[in-house]
């Protein structure tokens, strides 16, 4: 089987959620991804849940999902011996992605420089970037979200701002790093030029959409921190139905009119109480009661089918227990089950995109490696002899 990224060599350094998510993009499409982990245990391996709530360095759910199809080697990158290994591993790599503190990253960049000449592509992921007065600050998923303006909007005025789901921010940062890393790989394959890419987590989150800065900067508008259900441009937000909730994005025409028809109230589509921009907010509770009465007699899947038949933008709010059996997931095999040594069958998400057909073999998720599973194998591949490998272990450079 030939996968699209067969032949690429990617070095991933740091063991964080961000860099693991970035590496996964490459590894499942066939790249040779070497995961360099610190002796202190990668953060991604520490995150719950674990099977039966028993922690294990090789069994954390986030590690099992994000480290698929990679090989693991432990190297202490702070030591000269460790840097020498990384230099040898990286010299023929297409890309090195690292998520480590700025001073450590700068040290590693330097080993890939010959004067001003960069010997391979390097992407650094740091909270605030490689330069500037905040470059050495220590942040996590929660604080990065705080910086992004998204926490502020994800709240109700006067109440505590909220993050999204745990690690949503740092995964987005990793996905961003993978994208620009891929551009560097493409360019290197075309013109042989290497680039140094500086991904600041704050800038990656704030510069993308779903941030409130752009809108404010260009017209001074602050998005309201009201309740989830919009009382101005409705229905928008979650509404209760017989067995759960439906999420609507149906406040504007033509979708609003389709909704009115679908619930058997075409008169509401032209009723000025609900169409006049000044009157509409005053009559929110009236409309809400009408819609909730209609939803109360239907399950979320029944309402989904009926409303979507009329082109109404709405979706059932699903919880974790419903994901695998959702009809679309089942049809597309959006989740896959595979065997993981020491655990048995586990279920993870399938490909983020489908190349050359729904079920092609362009994407394949192989088991996530146990910690240091491939240390000896990788060192041998790169020319280290048996006694040298033992010496590195004895010196604490590898484990």
């Amino acid at each position: 089987m030939t996968q699209p990224l067969n032949g690429l060599k990617i070095i991933e350094i740091g063991g964080t959620v961000s860099v693991s998510a970035a590496g996964k993009k490459f590894s499942d499409f066939g790249a040779n991804v070497i995961k360099i982990e610190p002796p202190s245990v990668s953060d991604v391996r520490k995150i719950a849940p674990f099977p039966d709530d028993i922690f294990h360095i090789d069994k954390g759910a986030v590690h099992l999902a994000f480290d698929t199809s990679k090989r693991s080697i432990v190297i202490d990158h702070l030591t000269n011996s460790g840097k020498e290994i990384i230099q040898r591993l990286g010299k023929d790599a297409d890309l090195i992605i690292m998520d480590i503190p700025v001073t450590e990253a700068q040290d590693l960049i330097n080993i890939f420089k010959d004067g001003d000449n960069l010997l391979t592509n390097v992407v650094t992921i740091t909270p605030h970037g490689m330069t500037g007065p905040y470059k050495d600050r220590v942040e996590n998923d929660l604080t990065l979200f705080g910086w992004s303006t998204r926490s502020h909007r994800h709240s109700i005025a006067g109440r505590e701002p909220l993050r999204y789901g745990p690690y949503a921010g740092v995964v987005q940062i990793g996905s961003t790093a993978a994208a620009v890393g891929m551009a560097a790989v493409w360019s290197k394959r075309n013109e042989g030029m290497n680039r140094l890419v500086d991904v600041s987590g704050v800038e990656a989150l704030m510069g993308n959409v779903d941030s409130g800065f752009f809108l404010w900067a260009v017209n001074g508008a602050l998005q309201p921190r009201s309740a989830g259900q919009s009382s101005g441009l409705y229905p928008s937000g979650a509404y209760k139905c017989k067995d759960g909730y439906m999420l609507f994005s149906a406040g504007r025409d033509p979708v609003y009119s389709r909704l009115c028809n679908a619930i058997g109230r075409p008169d509401l589509a032209t009723d000025k109480r609900f169409t006049d921009p000044e009157e509409k907010p005053k009559n929110f509770e009236i409309f809400k009661k009408i819609l909730e009465d209609w939803l109360a007699t239907r399950t979320k899947y029944e309402a989904f089918d009926e409303l979507q038949e009329q082109g109404v933008m709405c979706c059932p709010v699903l919880d974790a227990s419903e994901l695998e059996n959702d009809p679309q997931s089942v049809y597309r095999k959006s989740y896959i089950t595979r065997n993981q040594d020491g655990i048995g069958d586990i279920t993870i998400a399938g490909p983020p995109f489908r190349m050359n057909g729904l079920y092609s073999d362009a994407w394949e998720s192989k088991p996530a490696p146990n910690l240091s599973e491939h240390t000896t194998e990788i060192l041998q591949e790169h020319g280290y002899g048996t006694q040298e490998i033992i010496a590195l272990f004895r010196a604490g450079v590898t484990t």
């Binding site: 849940p49 759910a61 970037g129 330069t131 905040y134 600050r137 220590v138 942040e139 929660l142 604080t143 979200f145 705080g146 910086w147 303006t149 998204r150 502020h152 994800h154 745990p166 995964v171 987005q172 620009v180 891929m182 551009a183 790989v185 493409w186 075309n190 680039r195 990656a204 993308n208 959409v209 941030s211 409130g212 800065f213 752009f214 809108l215 900067a217 260009v218 017209n219 602050l222 309740a227 928008s236 937000g237 979650a238 999420l247 979708v255 989904f304 933008m313 979706c315 059932p316 709010v317 699903l318 974790a320 994901l323 695998e324 597309r332 279920t347 993870i348 998400a349 983020p352 489908r354």
Partner: protein
């Protein structure tokens, strides 16, 4: 787009809203020649013809001044073509001939009806990569269903996890996380296909379900169920294994700060700052993480007693100087208070015909040696019609006829 990483690539983008357009802008940032094929005569979702909250000040048509449109459409050229007309199809076929990537965002089946499904496109250009980004993909029982990013979020389990603990779903904001993350996934997909083309010497079709592009990012949500048969709780900002890990009030009304201490060293730094050094004594119950988890409420109260004395930026600086994880909860205007972003020249000033100079957010990444720049402000509808049609070999008279018969345009009717 002074950066030349993707120089030589020709990208055709026929998408609306955010995920597709932002992806194409990112490619434009890196030197690709991106041509946005604007819907015509129907205007897109982000080009409303009546003023709304996102309308930017200035003169000229409202649809040229929508912030949500500007946010996702830098560094592109723009054509407005009615591809339902045969004359419009003729133009688009010529564009496809030497294009490298075609990204389309129609609902499943629509592009086939217009004559540009994969079977048609690969006959025109066997080397092209075509990416369809329908919400749930092109196959499956939901393929014809309509959604925005907020709906996709609801069906990944993410919405069920967001929001206030013990809160109601009706209080949880819809979000557009899938648009923010989808752009980089489409970007990655396009280049994956182009690398494959180098080996196989032929083009590729990609069915990119934005739902699938989102759901892989939440492995812990699914695993709580598949591993332990639990539905994850809504925790707000809490982490069950880290204390403190929360958002706290500052001296300013409804302004907040994030504080966390993930290990004993950060805890030591925090206690020194908030005047609770006794909490680090080995014999004190809070000197270890197990004790801190039991004392979350008291610890949170002590932290807030400190943070309420300062504004968020000042408190965060004091805490960070003692190696504690801390950040202000930044509002959009607060972004301008960040010395870091100023030092890195992150903000950009762009001059647009109808808005004049505007300050906008910067790029998602920095590159050396060829840095990024915002060279082409968001293009006007049909701004590059003549330029591109001339490149394709159409003459002036024919282009005039295309305007006259409504095949192309450079304005929308209100």
């Amino acid at each position: 787009m002074s950066n030349k990483s993707l120089e030589g690539l020709k990208i055709l983008e026929m998408t609306e809203a955010w995920a597709g357009p932002v992806c194409a802008s990112l490619m434009g940032d890196m030197g690709a020649d991106v041509i946005k094929i604007e819907s015509f005569p129907r205007h897109s979702l982000t080009r409303p013809t009546s003023p709304r909250y996102a309308t930017m000040p200035g003169e000229g048509p409202v649809y040229e001044r929508d912030a949500l449109h500007h946010q996702g459409n830098r560094n592109k050229r723009n054509m407005a073509i009615d591809i339902r007309k045969e004359s419009g199809k003729e133009i688009f076929k010529k564009l496809l001939l030497d294009a490298d990537v075609f990204i389309e965002g129609y609902a499943a089946g629509k592009i086939e009806k217009l004559g540009f499904g994969w079977q048609d496109v690969q006959k025109i250009n066997p080397n092209i990569t075509m990416i369809s980004i329908a919400g749930w993909g092109l196959e499956g029982p939901y393929k014809n269903m309509v959604t925005l990013g907020a709906g996709l979020d609801a069906t990944t389990g993410h919405l069920s996890l967001r929001g206030y603990p013990q809160g109601d779903f009706v209080d949880t904001h819809p979000n557009f996380h899938s648009d923010a993350t989808g752009s980089s996934t489409i970007f990655f997909a396009a280049l994956t296909a182009l690398l494959q083309r180098k080996k196989e010497k032929k083009g590729t079709f990609i069915d990119l379900s934005q739902w699938e592009g989102l759901v892989w990012q939440f492995p812990a949500i699914l695993a709580e169920w598949t591993m332990n048969k639990r539905i994850p709780e809504r925790l707000g900002n809490n982490d069950p294994h880290i204390v403190p890990h929360g958002v706290y009030r500052t001296i300013e009304e409804d302004k907040w700060i994030v504080v966390a201490a993930e290990d004993d060293n950060q805890w030591q730094g925090l206690c020194e700052v908030i005047g609770k050094i006794e909490w680090t004594d080995l014999m004190h119950q809070y000197s270890n993480i197990v004790g801190r988890i039991k004392g979350r409420t008291e610890i949170d109260a002590a932290i807030e007693s400190f943070t309420k004395q300062y504004d968020g930026f000042t408190a965060a600086e004091i805490l960070q100087n003692n190696h504690v994880i801390a950040s202000p909860v930044v509002t959009p205007p607060d972004v301008l208070l960040s010395n870091q972003l100023h030092e890195r020249d992150w903000h950009q000033t762009v001059n647009h015909k109808w808005t004049g100079p505007i300050m906008v957010g910067g790029h998602l990444w920095n590159v050396e040696p060829d840095t990024l720049s915002w060279d082409i402000p968001t293009a006007l509808v049909g701004q590059h019609n003549e330029e591109i049609l001339t490149e394709l070999g159409f003459d002036h008279d024919y282009i005039s006829a295309l305007y006259a018969n409504g095949t192309i345009g450079n304005h929308y009717e209100n």
